[in-house]
Amino acid sequence: MLSSYEKELLVTIWERMLPIAEDIGSDALLRMFTTFPKTKTYFAHLDISPRSAHLLSHGKKIVEALLEGAQNITTLTTTLAPLSRFHAYQLRIHPTNFKLLSHCILVTLAINMKDEFDPIAHAAMDKYLSAFAAVLAEKYR
């Protein structure tokens, strides 16, 4: 459960990331590909080299989706329904990968926010990302 303070904190953090969405999202993706190379298999059709146009634009989409989710946290399931259908029926991503991306998003935020990414922010973000991932994986079966 996220407290109302945590919900506000999540919106604040993702609003801060929006102007640098390309950098933040692409950094998290690059970390996922480097630390967990098997995740690259899902992106074989794209150029995912550092700073490539695809990596930047995909990174931006991820940050935008995370901000949208944070702003609509009480209706996460309906807000994310199209994204959930897409990941479940078209992309068919093995659900374990959501944890790997979530971890890399936390690392990216830690690097960007330094000491401001304190245990309170960390706990709120971890809960939010696992709720988000649960919704993305919800339509699987």
Partner: protein, 146 residues
Amino acid sequence: MADWTDAQRKTVASVWGQLDAEIGAHALARVLIVYPWTQRYFGSFGDLSTAAAILGNGKVAAHGKVVLQALEKGVKNVDAIKSTYTDLSRLHCLTLKVDPDNFRLLADCLTIVIATKLGAAFNPQVQATWQKFLSACVIALGSQYV
């Protein structure tokens, strides 16, 4: 066991060299705050009821140092991580009865604390190597569970 290139050995040693003694306490506090079920093992540590209580708990801080000292043995023995942690794995399994899935959570918290300290220098390549090291430790700590 994992193979290590010279560059990877240097990276592990260099990350380790940049950590101060407080890092272990911060990581242990985060695991207790972010994954509250881990508190079940620390009943003797006193007040863990809020994030502030955990961050101010002297036993958590002291135990964080102990954990970090244990990790140093792995850093110094990257070619023999499994045997380095045989006894510690037995202790966590037989005596402490810690669910080994919690080891990865502590490792992840440690990585995130390091990221807040090192900033951009903790680049994707460094992260990947560091996590390769930690995951070898996590596997080793789980190796004696029967």
